[in-house]
């Protein structure tokens, strides 16, 4: 018999996600794992224990699993938040949304006063000018703050910078004759300061504090990300597209290994500029370096771009506004080869597909690969997969694929999808959670933080209500129940990571990972699901109150 200490937590209600024992009042924890869940009487049989009443008035759920996020969410909080919607920072402070360009400028002016040196860059993120009418943000706006120091702000989409004149000057762009679709020109023939797409953004990035190298291996950023996880009830979070160079892996091993690090990070190696053979070898090498709190060895693949950036690949009839079809990021031969090798070596691959043509191609490639290399239970997952139709979900089901859909898009960009990108019909069926479930496709849902804020309960609210920022309901038939939504952010996401045997439900043998809630998500009105208050988490039996994060 083990001599390790047993703690029995009493809770107002425990939602286990285990259908054999869906609810309970007590959970016993030993060595960071769940010894049992049930009544106090049942659990006493395990022997001497401490009874912990800290959660007597709280609701416990399995710790939330964010199946598609990026640790860069923690990095971005080093910059000034300028988004349209309220957002909580890692310290728990809620930054109110900026309601006008003047407010954005005023907030930057305030931050500018805190900077010591005169030429230090001033950086912001989360800007979303579509909410400020037709007027574009121009360099003159930011020149009001300073013409001496470079100033740059990343848009909420992550695909656009707005900068001041000084930043353009440093990047060699404050000149006539620039002719590039990513550089908007003013009436004077000079760039307005709006820079779209990776090429134009790279030119100014290092001058405005968005230095790629610094972003790639950001220890304080990882710590901030972990604090955000605690505030949102997340005990396992993906870092879905990391190049994972050696120095980043050692940093992540060291930081996640610290006694008080509160979250399990699942970091996927980004497949880029590599032959498939080499990518699979790298993944296998990474798998060997994995620890309990740093899971490695899976691959993330990009098939196409984004819908709002018009770089997603759409099937006929294409974009609603007539924009040309998007871009392939990886050729089909390469995808097919990667799938085949990964199936052979048991390496998990998650593929980013936004447009339905990208989804179709990924399905074709996996279909072919599985004929060459049959592999039961591969759990290859389509990430975003926003425009898949019913037939594609049925096909995914037959091929054993999982979907991780992106309901947050409805809230943040649903109106644009309806009016501009894909039009009413496809906007209404986007992120078809109900169809996925009806087709038997294992389902997760995600935030893609920092693209939208990390917060599985908010994402669940989006899947349940399908509301846009303007209050439009997009596709009532694709709404899912609160119970189903809670499943997707726990066991559903764990399944896509092949971690459902360890995580995702509260039952004997699993990790003692809990989201600790002040309100009961099954009692609160479904339209209030996002307002459930979160006390914090328990991760491997360790308590992490949000208030202390």
């Amino acid at each position: 018999m083990s001599t390790s200490k047993i703690t029995i937590f009493r809770a107002r209600r425990i939602l286990t996600m285990n259908p054999a024992r869906p609810e309970a009042t007590h959970v016993a924890v030993r060595e960071g794992r769940i010894l049992g869940v049930g009544s106090l009487e049942e659990l006493k049989g395990w022997g001497a224990h401490d009874l912990d009443d800290s959660f007597a008035d709280k609701v416990l759920m399995p710790g939330f699993v964010e199946g598609h996020s990026h640790a860069a969410e923690g990095t971005f909080w080093r910059y000034t938040y300028l988004g349209r919607f309220d957002r909580m920072d890692p310290g728990g402070k809620v930054w109110p949304g900026a309601t006008s360009i003047d407010e954005v400028v005023a907030r930057l002016q305030e931050e500018e006063r805190k900077l010591a040196s005169a030429d230090e860059p001033l950086s912001g993120w989360g800007l979303d000018p579509i909410y400020y009418g037709d007027r574009r943000v121009v360099r003159a706006d930011f020149d009001r703050i300073s013409t001496k120091r470079p100033i740059g702000v990343m848009h909420a989409s992550g695909h656009i910078f707005n900068v001041n004149s000084r930043a353009l000057e440093l990047a060699g762009l404050l000149r006539p004759g620039v002719n590039h679709p990513g550089v908007t020109l003013g009436d004077d023939g000079l760039p307005t300061g709006e820079l779209k797409g990776p090429e134009a953004m790279t030119l100014v990035g290092k001058h405005i504090g968005f230095d790629r190298e610094a972003l790639a291996n950001d220890e304080p950023g990882l710590r901030r990300f972990a604090r955000l996880c605690v505030r949102q009830g997340v005990t396992t979070a993906t870092d879905l597209a990391n190049l994972l160079p050696d120095d980043a892996v050692s940093m992540m091993q060291r930081v996640t290994g610290e006694a008080q690090f509160p979250v399990r990070i699942v970091s996927f190696r980004r497949f880029q500029a590599l032959p498939p053979e080499q990518a699979v070898e790298i993944a296998l090498g990474l798998k060997k370096q994995a620890t309990d709190r740093l899971r490695l060895g899976a691959i993330k693949l990009f098939v196409d771009g984004s819908i709002q950036g018009f770089s997603a690949r759409l099937r006929w009839p294409g974009y609603y506004n007539g924009a040309p079809n998007g871009l392939w990021y990886t050729p089909p031969e390469t995808i097919a080869q990667l799938y085949r090798l990964a199936l052979q070596k048991d390496v998990l691959v998650h593929s980013h597909t936004n447009g339905d043509q990208a989804t179709e191609m990924a399905l074709d490639c996996l279909d072919g690969a599985l004929r060459d290399q049959p592999a039961p239970d591969h759990r290859f997952t389509l990430q975003h997969c926003q425009l898949a139709d019913a037939a594609q979900f049925r096909r995914m089901s037959r091929l054993g694929m999982c979907a991780n859909l992106f309901p947050n898009h409805h809230f943040y960009w649903g109106d644009q999808h309806y009016e501009t990108t894909v039009g009413p019909e496809r906007a209404t069926r986007m992120n078809a959670c109900a169809t996925a479930l009806a087709s038997g496709v294992p389902l997760a849902i995600h935030s893609d933080a920092p693209v939208t804020p990390l917060g599985p309960l908010f994402t669940a609210w989006c899947a349940v209500n399908r509301l846009t920022a303007s209050g439009r309901v997009l596709g009532t038939s694709e709404r899912i129940s609160v119970a189903d939504a809670l499943h997707t952010i726990t066991l559903g996401a764990a399944w896509t990571l092949k971690l459902d045997g360890e995580l995702g439900s509260i039952e004997v043998g699993k990790r003692a990972d809990f989201a600790v809630l002040e309100d009961d998500p099954l009692e609160i009105a479904p339209e209030k699901l996002k307002d459930v208050r979160i006390w914090g988490t328990v991760q491997a039996g360790r308590l992490f109150p949000a208030a202390g994060a």
Binding site: G172, P181, R212, A273, P275, Q278, P324, P331, T334
Partner: protein, 315 residues
């Protein structure tokens, strides 16, 4: 940056069209010119082993002073750091990935002041290009690649019969009317066409314009050498030479440009640019290369005349 602009040849085309072979051919023909070859990745051995003299992480040193670097996820970053890291480099050959749009790649390069686009070269496989253009997934990407080309290298012509080749050339002329098509095998193209004419050297088509691997290569090209009057209107000359009817594949000439020192005119197919020449450069004749039998001597002479006659006061 003036006088120190690096010409960039973008090489695009789908997987398996012969981009890597083309790049290796160019490196073998570099003849002392220091070329930086930028490739997406090193995975599938981008450079023939016998050409590599040293390997250092993301860089391969090539015999003859050339260098090959991978850019992976960040082409812009690589281009931004290259001039400082390799000040000896005279020219860049940029191999785009199989699904990249070379027109977009070229456009991105124009954001960087130290560079100019010399040519967009797109490879096509004579046997498969039309089928690929019909592919539901890839068709529009293939066509967008082809329409961005200044020169289309129609490779693997040995795998199709003459009639099929001509059909494909006619089809390309329809799909990409502005591009010049170079039929070839083993990706062999006269290197001058792609990496430029060397200053002060007159090409003699039977030697320097030889395309290795093609037995009848010597008869493929014609080269002309013509006098340019000083203060010729280079802008206008470039426009005229770049018109499809001239049959010009490449042209280069240096002349005094309206009291602003020596300027160089570069024409590659439909594209032309005018550069300030490095200090100390002397004016040269205009050198023109085209496919034998396609080069319109009269049109070229006319162009020279027209652009010279604009000159009102003799100096």
């Amino acid at each position: 940056m003036k006088g120190n602009v690096l010409p960039v040849t973008v090489v695009g085309g789908y997987l398996g069209t012969g981009k890597t072979t083309l790049v290796n051919n160019l490196l073998r023909a570099a003849a002392g010119r220091r070329i930086a070859v930028l490739v997406n990745d090193f995975g599938t051995t981008p450079i023939d082993r016998d050409l590599i003299v040293a390997t250092d992480g993301g860089t391969l040193e090539i015999s003859g002073g050339c260098v090959c670097c991978s850019y992976g996820s960040d082409l812009m970053e690589r281009l931004m750091t290259l001039p400082a890291q390799r000040p000896d480099v005279e020219r860049v050959v940029l191999e785009a990935s199989g699904v990249a749009l070379p027109g977009m790649v070229a456009n991105a390069v124009t954001l960087l002041e130290p560079y100019r686009i010399d040519a967009v070269v797109v490879m096509a496989d004579a046997e498969t290009v039309q089928a690929q253009a019909d592919n539901a997934y890839l068709g529009d990407t293939i066509l967008r690649q082809l329409t961005a080309a200044d020169l289309i290298v129609l490779n693997r012509c040995d795998l199709v019969d003459d009639a099929a080749r001509e059909r494909t050339i006619a089809w390309l002329a329809q799909q990409a009317p502005d591009a010049r098509v170079l039929p070839t095998t083993y990706a062999s193209v006269a290197p001058e066409l792609l990496i430029g004419l060397r200053d002060g050297l007159t090409p003699r088509h039977h030697t320097t314009l030889q395309a290795p691997g093609a037995p009848d290569a010597a008869s493929l090209y014609d080269a002309l050498e013509l006098d340019m009057s000083p203060d010729i209107d280079l802008q206008q000359l470039g426009r005229l030479l770049a018109a499809p009817s001239t049959g010009v594949l490449r042209a280069k000439g240096m002349t005094r440009n309206a009291g602003r020192g020596i300027a160089a005119l570069h024409v590659v197919g439909r594209r032309f640019s005018i550069d300030p020449a490095p200090p100390g450069t002397a004016p040269t004749k205009l050198v023109v290369i085209g496919l034998r039998g396609r080069l319109d001597r009269n049109a070229i002479s006319d162009a020279l005349q027209k652009t010279s006659s604009k000159q009102e006061t003799p100096c």
